[in-house]
């Protein structure tokens, strides 16, 4: 019976497809503005730990294909049929296919961790592991845009990314989509790193409200399709600079590290929402007010916790001794976030001032006071007699509980097109500087970062960024220089440059270099020189200075 139903369904599907094709063939092509575009890209990176230590670490080959179809406009479907209530309809599909050739090439040098110790090489991954990592084939985005005719309301329904905020290269409001950090955080744009979700986004034009103009309300609902930030570990070359501490371990209650917590991916248990209001004041100050209720993705650069020790020694014991689960749970608790952004063009200086700030309530941090305990039966964990002991006795490291903290973050940035005529007579240099701060008002005395006992959490942290870019030769040569400095973590820094050359309209060549360094002393952190800075600069990327070539063919 089931087989019959499947065959019937297949026949109906084919008939429907044929009908649809026949229907489309009857519609004039001009009525269906459909377009296919895309590109083929190859990124190759060499990592140079020192001037004489080079390692080939990336050969990423990407194909992107985008399909756009404006299937309805001016209230008509395919220019033939009236669509009551609908003014405009658009479909977008974006496919991304990856071949990571580095897993076939598997070069030999062993990669070093944040402590400077050699860990493993790509060649140490098993054949199966490399097969699994080599290819990716995903429909990155697939959504329908609907613009209603009777209401100033627009909907975007489907797999999508939602980007709010004013910061460059840092994420405060840009939190609707968590990141895939198994990709190269420093070398890939956010667009490639965000994890698109199936969401419903609504956009309501409010127009003029009293003295405010250009007002709108935008909100979204992710009905359960949320995933936390994806992480990877050595010897994969782009992820965390440590070996996976939980490799092969089963976690408590079936949770899976950086994949699945103790919830189901349903609207009831995994919904996420965000809302923002935008307006412009009579003085041309542009502002947004933002609110999010989301699970904590753990990808904003804060040293937050993704795991929590099981608090009850008995429950921990049953999990470990009966089910073989580590008494450690992957968590992503819900967090309330309230924020605002603003931009203002200052005419005398010809500069644009950007502001962004957010207050987050209840971010999880590992708490050294909350050490996990486990009820050990006699003869287990090297003890002759049973009893409740510290997790460290059984597992070698203390498993910690979690404390929820509030955090205030903010950014002030200034953009200014500036003439530097001795370098470029035709175009300005677009200069952009940003200052970030991160503040934990409830103190950080007992908090611990994700790298363990040596990784302290600071009450205040700061970050400065500066970038300059310009255009030469008819816009075909675009150099960029960028610099980031974290003075609160041993002056951790990144200096990078890239030159993009549009060889032809369809061919782009990009060369780049990134240097990471800090001023941490030889004796720091027990002589390891490890710098546990959270922003991905000279500590996290210790020894990861890189040179790269990217070639893009677009159509």
């Amino acid at each position: 019976m089931a087989a019959f139903a499947r065959r019937l369904a297949a026949k109906l599907l084919v008939m429907a497809a044929l009908d649809f094709c026949a229907f489309l063939s009857a519609v004039p092509a001009s009525a269906m503005p459909a377009e296919i575009s895309g590109n083929l890209e190859s990124l190759n990176l060499v990592r140079h730990r020192d001037i004489d230590q080079w390692a080939y670490i990336t050969n990423r080959n990407t194909a992107r294909v985008r399909f756009d179809w404006g299937w309805a406009s001016q209230g008509r479907l395919l220019d033939r049929f009236d669509l009551p209530g609908l003014k405009q309809g658009h479909l977008l599909l974006l496919y991304r296919g990856i071949y990571d050739g580095i897993y076939d090439i598997a070069p030999g040098p062993r990669m070093r961790d944040i402590f400077g110790q050699p860990v493993a090489s790509i060649g140490d991954l098993s054949r199966d592991e490399r097969d699994a990592l080599r290819f990716e084939s995903t429909l990155r985005e697939a959504y329908l845009d609907l613009r209603l005719s009777r209401l100033p309301l627009e909907l975007r329904l489907g797999k999508q990314m939602i980007v709010w905020g004013e910061s460059d290269n840092f994420r405060m409001m840009d939190k609707a989509n968590a990141l895939d950090l198994s990709w190269h955080l420093q070398q890939e744009p956010w667009d490639e790193l965000r994890r698109p979700y199936w969401m419903l986004k609504f956009f309501y034009r409010l127009g003029t409200l009293g003295p405010l103009s250009q007002s709108f309300l935008e909100w979204y609902w992710n009905p359960g399709d949320w995933l936390p930030a994806k992480q990877s570990f050595l010897p994969r070359p782009w992820g965390n600079p440590v070996a996976d501490p939980l490799s092969g371990a089963r976690l408590f209650a079936g949770t899976r590290a950086y994949r699945q917590g103790d919830w189901r991916r349903t609207p009831q248990e995994n919904s996420q929402v965000g809302v923002r209001f935008h307006a412009m004041t009579p003085a041309n100050f542009e502002l947004t007010l933002d609110y999010f209720w989301q699970r904590w993705a753990g990808d904003d650069g804060s040293s937050t916790a993704s795991f929590r020790a099981v608090g009850d020694p008995g429950v921990a014991a049953r999990a470990f001794f009966e089910r073989g689960e580590l008494p450690l749970e992957f968590i992503a608790p819900y967090v309330h976030s309230v924020g605002a952004t603003g931009t203002y063009f200052e005419p005398r200086t010809q500069a644009v001032v950007r502001l962004e700030t957010i207050f987050e309530i209840g971010i999880p941090y590992s708490d050294r006071r909350k050490r996990g305990m486990i009820a050990v039966p006699a003869g287990a964990c090297g003890r002759e007699e049973g009893g409740v002991v510290d997790d460290e006795l059984c597992f070698g490291i203390p498993l910690l509980g979690v404390t929820r903290r509030n955090e205030w973050k903010g950014m002030v940035g200034i953009d200014r097109p500036t003439w530097v005529r001795w370098l470029n007579r035709g175009n300005t240099f677009f200069l952009s500087g940003q200052v970030f701060w991160f503040y934990l008002p409830q103190g950080t005395k007992f908090l611990e970062g994700p790298f363990g006992a040596l990784d302290d959490v600071r009450t205040w942290e700061y970050l400065f960024t500066l970038a300059a870019t310009t255009l030469y030769r008819g816009g075909t040569v675009a150099p960029t220089l960028s610099y980031a400095l974290d003075p609160s973590n041993s002056w951790s820094q990144e200096l990078a440059w890239e030159i993009k050359w549009f060889v032809r309209n369809d061919l782009i060549l990009e060369v780049s270099q990134r240097y990471f360094f800090d001023l941490i002393g030889d004796s720091a952190n027990g002589g390891t020189e490890a710098n546990f800075e959270p922003q991905g600069l000279g500590g996290f990327n210790r020894g990861r200075s890189e040179s790269g070539v990217r070639v893009v063919y677009q159509f």
Partner: protein, 392 residues
């Protein structure tokens, strides 16, 4: 007395409507290196020398007549004599139409008045363009950016109250541009709000696909547009702030200008494919010297030729600070009757812009594939909301 004003107004309207009489000047049927001398009095020396060198040749057709459209002529008539320039350099008493229909060449402010006539030339209410901006290195196209462009005027319109939708906001016009190709720029969108007051600053935004955010920007007028040979203020012949330049009337003369084409898809040819080779026609032009007030401006001077009938810019010869010829900018127009979709536009249809940089041997050409004048456009298009909601 009232009767006297009526007859004066009627006379002015008739005079303005008849302003587009075809030129009686003798011009050759074709201009090329073989007969360049015949065009000696009808071309700027910098263009003539290119003809002489064989870089371009073109046919010459009788001039098109562009009588003022009735609402514009009536508004011009109503405002005649009531508009004046303030000390600050703004207009006082201006409502709509051509601010200064009578130009006295002896008037020391004549150049400035022509500049205001350019600013308030008859444009209709909206223009939409689908086209591409190609930057050529020699004859090789290096970058070709396809765009959709829309502009809507919302203040000082002669078409009636319903056309003055942004008068309360103090906005003269708003521009919306969306990149259609190539992929690396696709969906990039820019928005500009131009205030009525020349001394107020534009408000500019850009939506970039790599950030997926709308960003407020400062867009210097004297900067190359997307690195091309056109400055941001070069579009439409000139679209910068009047206050940033000194405007001096040099004289008036008849010139050949690329206005005789019959298709919105202008043909380009000659050396490197830089020159519009559709027919040119003889136009009566004001000749202005436009000198930037800032010593840092990349141009030392523009010699600008402005059509007397319509106040649209015909072309500019651009010099550097050493008074060497640097660039030539040609504006290409056709008569509305050659564009069935715009047959009622009543004004010259700008179908192309060329900026040739001779020292660099480079050119930027803006060419059209589709053009629509005076179609109703929702104000929604010219908002940040549109950029946010339509961003991909």
């Amino acid at each position: 007395m009232r009767g006297h004003r009526f007859w004066v107004s009627l006379g002015l309207i008739l005079a303005l409507c008849g302003a587009g009489e075809a030129s009686a000047l003798e011009a050759p049927n074709n201009v090329s290196s073989a007969n360049w001398k015949e065009a000696e009095g009808l071309l700027a020396p910098e263009i003539l020398s290119r003809v002489k060198d064989g870089d371009l040749s073109f046919d010459v057709v009788p001039a098109t007549s562009y009588p003022m459209r009735a609402p514009y002529a009536e508004a011009t008539s109503r405002g005649a004599g009531r508009v004046r320039l303030t000390e600050e350099g703004e207009l006082e008493g201006y409502v709509a139409g051509r601010p200064f229909p009578e130009i006295d060449p002896a008037d020391p402010k004549a150049g400035e008045k022509i500049a205001w006539n350019i600013r308030y030339r008859d444009t209709g209410t909206t223009i939409q363009e689908w086209g591409s901006m190609d930057t050529l290195d020699g004859d090789r196209v290096q970058r070709s950016i396809k765009v959709y462009y829309a502009i809507a005027w919302g203040a000082h319109r002669a078409e009636g109250e319903e056309a003055n939708i942004w008068r309360e906001d103090g906005m003269l016009y708003k521009e919306f541009t969306r990149v259609l190709a190539p992929l690396d720029l696709k969906d990039m969108t820019t928005l500009k709000h131009r205030p009525v007051r020349d001394h107020d600053q534009d408000i500019d935004w850009v939506y970039t696909t790599d950030t997926r955010r709308v960003r407020r920007i400062a867009a210097p007028h004297e900067e190359q547009a997307a690195g091309s040979e056109l400055l941001n203020e070069d579009f439409w012949g000139f679209s910068g702030y009047l206050r940033d330049h000194e405007w001096k009337l040099v004289g008036q003369r008849e010139v050949l200008a690329p206005m005789g084409g019959k298709s919105i898809e202008t043909r380009y040819g000659g050396r490197n494919g830089w020159y519009p080779v559709d027919p040119w026609e003889v136009r009566k032009a004001w000749v202005l010297d436009v000198v930037p007030r800032s010593g840092a401006h990349p141009y030392g001077r523009r010699r600008m030729y402005v059509d007397q009938d319509t106040s649209w810019v015909l072309y500019s010869i651009i010099y550097d600070r050493q008074e060497s010829h640097m660039k030539t900018m040609l504006e290409v127009y056709i008569a509305p009757r050659y564009s069935p979709e715009n047959a009622d536009a009543g004004i010259p249809l700008l179908t192309g812009e060329v900026m040739i940089n001779y020292p660099k041997n480079r050119a930027t050409i803006f060419r059209l594939s589709k053009l629509l004048h005076n179609r109703p456009l929702s104000g929604e298009l010219f908002t940040v909301e549109e950029m946010v909601s339509g961003g991909h």
